[in-house]
């Protein structure tokens, strides 16, 4: 112990303490604080960036999913639209066909009617004409028959005979 104490130099202890404390305070102000601050700042920045990247990734995935959804929706809509259009078209065609049919039949029937009417009219006229002709013919015949007395008499006889025979 004595030897140990003999090794101890008060002067060296004094200067060591003074110099070490001075170094401690100088380094704190000029070195450790700025270095640790810079390192901390960088670490914060790195972890912040990583976090942000992670967030971006999630966001991107969400965006992609929503895009997909949108696309799917659009596709479904398109399909629906096409189907609708097809339906409408076929319906329209059907309708048109129906209409055409109805119209056609209507036309046909009206045509038939008019034909019948015309026919009837024609028949009537014909009848009238025929009647007129008949009357004329009959008149002429009668006239011819009755142009002489003999004839009138023969006629009368004949008629009388017909009647008699009946």
């Amino acid at each position: 112990m004595d030897k140990l104490l003999g090794e101890f130099s008060i002067g060296l202890f004094f200067w060591q303490t003074v110099l070490f404390l001075a170094l401690l305070f100088l380094l704190r102000k000029f070195a450790w604080k700025p270095i640790l601050d810079a390192v901390n700042e960088r670490e914060d920045k790195i972890s912040g960036s990583l976090e942000e990247a992670e967030k971006m990734k999630v966001e991107m995935a969400a965006l992609k999913a929503s895009n997909e959804d949108l696309l799917k929706e659009a596709r479904a809509e398109r399909d629906l639209m096409i189907k609708d259009a097809k339906e409408t078209a076929s319906k329209m065609i059907e309708e048109a066909k129906e209409k055409a049919k109805v119209e056609g039949s209507k036309l046909l029937s009206s045509a038939k009617e008019s034909i019948n009417a015309e026919k009837a009219a024609a028949i009537t006229e014909l009848k009238t004409q025929v009647a007129a002709f008949s009357i004329e013919i009959a008149e002429q015949i009668v006239r011819a028959e009755l142009s002489s007395a003999d004839k009138q008499k023969a006629m009368a006889d004949k008629m009388a005979e017909d009647i008699n025979m009946n």
């Binding site: 008060i10 060296l12 070490f20 404390l21 000029f30």
Partner: protein
């Protein structure tokens, strides 16, 4: 700045070779008397050589030519407090050969223990009578002034502090241009982060560690750099000095004690979770433990570094002690191997000191979560 560090590393690695060269040059000059030494005397001389190189000194010696007693190096200022301040250069002592007069008082440097004694004008050491209180025996004690000299170790601590200040300020500045490390920061940032993430946070806790970081970082690099300085062939042994490690351990003790929370004191005074008789028993043990912890820190660093230097010194001395060519070669190889080990120890001791300091801080900063 990092170029300077690289030079330091290279010096540290090649130091055994340079030491050999230095001592070899010594021998060349002093060839004559050297050969006449008996093995016992040679042993004693080697012993002195090893001891001398682990000691602090008042001048910065690089080489000694023993045959002509010539010292190469430069003097350092001597500051003594003895009824006022005395200031002169250590060259005035002429390595213990001359008595120095300063403000009417006389001083002499003892070349063997490296201490300054108060003398009369003829160089006789002044003594005072000390009476032992128990035995009432009278004994003489040599008078010594309060020595506050800028010794070699103080000078090296000062140089290293300046180097550390500019190195780490430079690193701090390099972060201003961008957050990515550049230059020296590339090397030192992982170490700083290691101290934060693997020493401070696990031992002190995420929440509390910030206020202790400044001390932990400073103490780690301070010890590591000074240990590495000790690996240079300049014969520096700063961290192997009791005064230096005592000052460091005292800092740890003071910070631990003054930042300690209620839990720390409760664990010392009234240990929770044990029966009352145990609480009473544990109180003195815990109080002793409070002081033993920093004491162990002090002794551990001191003893490890001093032992490393003594082993290295002994191995280098052995290279010159044996004449056989093979023995010389073997000891040179062993010295080189020991240097590599010491490089590792330099880092390891800095790590252990910082680690244990963080552990004590952790105990002081802990808040009731048992």
């Amino acid at each position: 700045m990092h170029r300077l560090l690289r030079i330091l590393f290279v010096l540290a690695v090649t130091s055994p070779l340079i030491v050999n060269a230095n001592t070899h040059a010594d021998e060349g000059h002093g060839g004559g008397p050297e050969t006449e030494l008996t093995p016992e005397k040679q042993r004693e001389k080697n012993n002195e050589f090893v001891k001398h190189h682990t000691k602090d000194s008042h001048d910065f010696g690089v080489l000694v030519d023993e045959s002509e007693d010539k010292h190469y190096g430069f003097p350092l200022p001597v500051i003594l407090y003895d009824n006022g301040i005395h200031f002169f250069w250590s060259s005035a002592f002429e390595h213990g050969h001359k008595v120095v007069e300063s403000n009417g008082l006389y001083y002499k440097l003892d070349a063997h223990d490296g201490k300054i004694y108060k003398t009369d004008e003829h160089g006789h050491v002044l003594k005072k009578v000390v009476i032992d209180e128990d035995t009432k025996e009278e004994s003489l004690e040599e008078l010594m002034p309060l020595d506050l000299s800028i010794t070699k170790n103080v000078f090296i601590i000062f140089l290293m502090s300046i180097l550390m200040f500019f190195l780490f300020r430079g690193i701090a500045k390099s972060y201003r241009t961008g957050l990515a490390p550049t230059g020296a920061a590339k090397f030192f940032e992982p170490i700083i982060l290691f101290i934060r993430d693997d020493i401070a946070i696990p031992n002190i806790g995420e929440k509390q560690h910030k206020k202790y970081m400044v001390y932990l970082l400073t103490v780690f690099f301070f010890i590591w750099f000074l240990n590495l300085a000790g690996m240079t062939p300049l014969g520096i042994n700063v961290t192997g000095n009791l005064a230096v490690t005592a000052a460091l351990a005292l800092c740890t003790f003071v910070i631990t004690t003054f930042t300690a929370k209620k839990d720390y004191w409760m664990h010392i005074v009234w240990m929770p979770g044990v029966p009352v008789p145990m609480k009473i028993m544990l109180f003195p043990i815990e109080v002793i433990g409070m002081f033993v912890k920093p004491f162990a820190l002090m002794i551990r660093l001191y003893a490890n570094m001093l032992a490393g230097h003594i082993v290295l010194g002994a191995l280098i001395a052995a290279v010159f002690f044996f004449d056989a060519f093979l023995a010389k070669g073997a000891f040179i190889g062993l010295t080189f191997f020991m240097n590599i080990i010491e490089l590792l120890v330099a880092l390891l001791q800095a790590y252990i000191f910082t680690m244990l300091t963080a552990l004590y801080f952790g105990a002081a900063a802990a808040e009731g979560h048992h």
